[in-house]
Amino acid sequence: MYQFSPATERILRMREIIRERIVRYDSERARIVTESNKRNEHVPPMIKRARLLYDLCEQMTILVEDTELIVGNKGPHFFSSPGFPEWGNTDWVVDDVVNRGWELRDGIYYNPPADGIKYCISKEDHEYLSSIMPYWKERKMGTMIDAWKPEGYEELAALEISQYVPKGGMSLFGLPAGHIICGYPKIINMGYGAIRKQAQDWIDEHRGNLMGDDVNKYMFYTAVVITCDGASLLARRYAAKCEEMAAACTEPGRKAELEKMAGGLAWLAENPARDFWEALQGVMLYQVLLQIFEKIPGPAIGRFDQYTWPYLKKDLEEGKLTMEQAQELVDAFFLKLNCYYGAGMPKLVDVTGVGNTYQNTTIGGVDPITGEDASNPVTYMVFETVGRLKMHDPTLVFRTHKGTPDKLWECAIATSKMVGGLPLYYNDDVVIPCMMNEVGYSLEDARNYGCIGCQEIVGSGNDYPMPNGAYPPHATLYWAAIFDMAMNDGLNPLNGVQASMHTGYLYEMNSIEEVRAAVEKMGTYLMRLYISINNYAESLGPFFAPEPLLSMSIEGCMESGKDCTAGGAKYNSFGGTATGLATLADSLATIKYMCFDKKICTTRELYDAYMANWEGHELLRQRILKEVPHFGNNDPYVDEEMAWCVDMYYRICKQLYSTRSKVYKAGLYGSADHIVQGHYTWATPDGRKYPDAIADAASPAQSRDKKGPIQVFNSSNCYDHTKFLGGIALNLRMHPSVLSNDEGIAKLRDMTKAYFANGGMEVQYNVVDTDTLRAAQADPEQYRDLVVRIAGYSAYFVELGRDLQDDIIARNENRI
């Protein structure tokens, strides 16, 4: 069995600081951006944004901690959460402190202890953020976009079938799209100096001769030059800080380390990395830029093992580094990533998780040129880090294929045993053809895919993928609620709001075909409406929020002089997800079985029962739970309905496109949306009560799978996974006894491989038993390191809300 080795003392110390984190909201960035914006008020956004980045690089506090080997901070505190007033992101914290009465101690406000995450903000910072609210009120990114909205938005807001289109609506441009893998290899292999030169050369060539589209290119390249200058400046400031600390350091070992860091950072200001440490620090420096520039969701790390290994290989050959030293650097790198968690609205945190930074990291997989296994020592090192530090974040994606070595499988499963849900097991043999068919990636680029966010599949450094669309994210159209509306002539039974689309009532329908047609009609209407709103925001976004910082590393943008938001990347697409279609499939199967095939009750009786949230109809509900086949048991009766549901969803997706992209990617994943959706979705015919959670992602409904993992897999393979480039998440909970010895580990590996050989795209395992979860609920302190996976992220179990905890417990526990 794979054994994890202990981490060094300072790594453990740093881990402990992070585990005890209190996220400190501060006003430093907000102050810099407010002043910068005042100076540049009427400058075109492309230039204004680049100048903002430069100002941040010039003025942000530089921190280097005693425990740190890899540096980069988001603000003046170790756990700073900067404010992004230009995105309207500071309003909630200003209000929350007042409305929920944060406790003031020694000049610092602390959020209520019942919250899963600990926040604080100083009195001064809070006062400053309050004071700038009037300035930003009419100057936000979304100010103009929100001032007018296409017809239909009000209806969508009234219906409340997405938490991002709540009653009264919310900003259509409240966040950048993010969810991307930037060109980290380009950054570390080329350096800011060379990128800057490329831009400057074009500017020099075209000086005083801007014809046609040249003007846009000119502004883009100018923004890149300013951005590169900012990046170089930031690196030099870190170098100076390290040098200053080295001078003051009396411990020779640490002094030498700080000197090495200072030299490396000064070099990285303009040049490509020379060794493994510089490669990691170079990636981190770019990551810090992304993190301070804007509140970017899901800036994924990409194929970390692939682009860092050449540097380590060289260091090892030259005897510059030992494997142990390299492992400590990898530990330090991933710990540092964990520091970039930003405070979020409590309501949003319910969905996105506590402490989840969405810097999804991809390892393993095949070589883009040869198609052979590309795993290397860094692949193992990442597992070692995640396993031995019991690290719930970032999400780790393990790409597997037919040639993945058994030893690596063993290492991955040992990690799964330690850390709930990590890694996610992905199947190259399904994903690669999927990328080529759905978006038209070349074979080489498809082989180089990585995952972002929860688990969406994207290209590496050549793609502007927008897998969740523009803000608001498309992961949040509630399909079970759409189903309820379709059975109710377009009325949402939860709030009594009527859509302008009419579909008839369940009790007027005489066959399952009529029921399906009503669902497809309502789904098509709402998806088109929702994406219309997206397309409106997406079409204006490139003007207000161009991304020169992202674009300069993404293939296609520097070549074309076009920003990635405007379609400059080599590949372009957008998409969303339909989470919890199993609840739909089970509902359809229930109607078919109870009303049309077995005629146990009429459609009217079934309708009345679930409209009453099953009050007074418990026996009927119990009969449905017992008799009606449910998805996840390899029963063709209901698997056929599931296949219809996913095909229907895919059919609708194929009708959607935007100005930038012709491809809308369908996905079957979700973060923890299924739990929130439960609160927005009235009871459903499958026996689910309001407000119970709907099924998660692509998994069977909670506890409805009774026949073990193989039948879940067989059911899952009832539809073609190669259509769902958005990604698929199949959650399985295994009893730890399954993995009690080497044989068990081999069996889990072989089962996963067999699932993949049969066409499965993805699976993620929670290895934990119900007794342990209940004990953790009773005694959180004893189980503070217990990590579980919800759907789109892993988290410390004891930090989850009670309904999320109960959702994990409700899942079927697969034992022997």
Partner: protein, 321 residues
Amino acid sequence: MSEQSQIKGKIYDIQGFSVHDGPGIRTTVFLKGCPLRCPWCHSPESQSFLTQMSYTATRCIGTELCGECLRVCPAQAVEQGKEEVNPADKSVLHKAVWHRDRCLQCAACTQVCFPEALSLCGKDYTVDEVADILRADYAYFSGSDGGVTVSGGEPLSQIDFTEALLKVVHGEGVHTAVDTTGFVPQEAIRRVLPYTDLFLYDLKHMDSAEHERITGVPNELIHENARFIARSGGKMQIRVPVIPTYNDSEENIRRVAEFCVELGDAVTVVQLLPFHHFGSAKYERMQMYDPIPMTLESPSDETMERYRALMESYGLPAIIH
């Protein structure tokens, strides 16, 4: 449709991804009925050859919402129980209580109990029906040396069914295992030998008198059958339940090892199974007496490891669990 494919067996469970019943990923078919009565049996529902009632109180939703069983029971074997508070929503309820001693086993209540609190354990399946269920798992066997295990109870007690099922599955190229007590007529072993790749063969106590005192039957026939399998070229994974105070003496473990050495190449591995209390909830459901006191502790990891080493000192490959 051949006659053989219509033979019926009484089955109480078919379990996929059953990782501890032989090599690789296996699906195990559990047959009902056993000639032995081992006190540590963790599947008390497997003992009787008849279909039986079982009652899982936790599943009952209460007589307020349902109470159908009270209405249909002809023998007043189901009664309203004591007042309880539902921990989920704090509502007061009275669950049904089933009395095995009054039950006529007519199963009328199981027809109306949708939450499956009252249910039947044991169902007749034809060979064809079982084979169809197993085929859904075939794709998961090949990569892992896995296959189908026929277990019990004592599967060879339903020899016609077991032979026919093994013949079909083995004929389709699937690895087969039979989990047996060995306490069956030699004829039964002879009939399944051609279609059985591996026997999971239990040795519970080496002293015949002790064996009989504990399990109700002596062990001579068991040993004879084991020798017969070895002689006939069959393979055996020897399974030794390690039950403190019953059979966990070093002497007994040594005698097991000596016997395995005698069986020679036929023994692929010795599997030492530490005692656990997993079965106690099942005794409750069946309203059967659990002969093992709850105070009996599982053997320690050190003990198990010591016995594994002991087995290996005899040149026998050994695994725990």
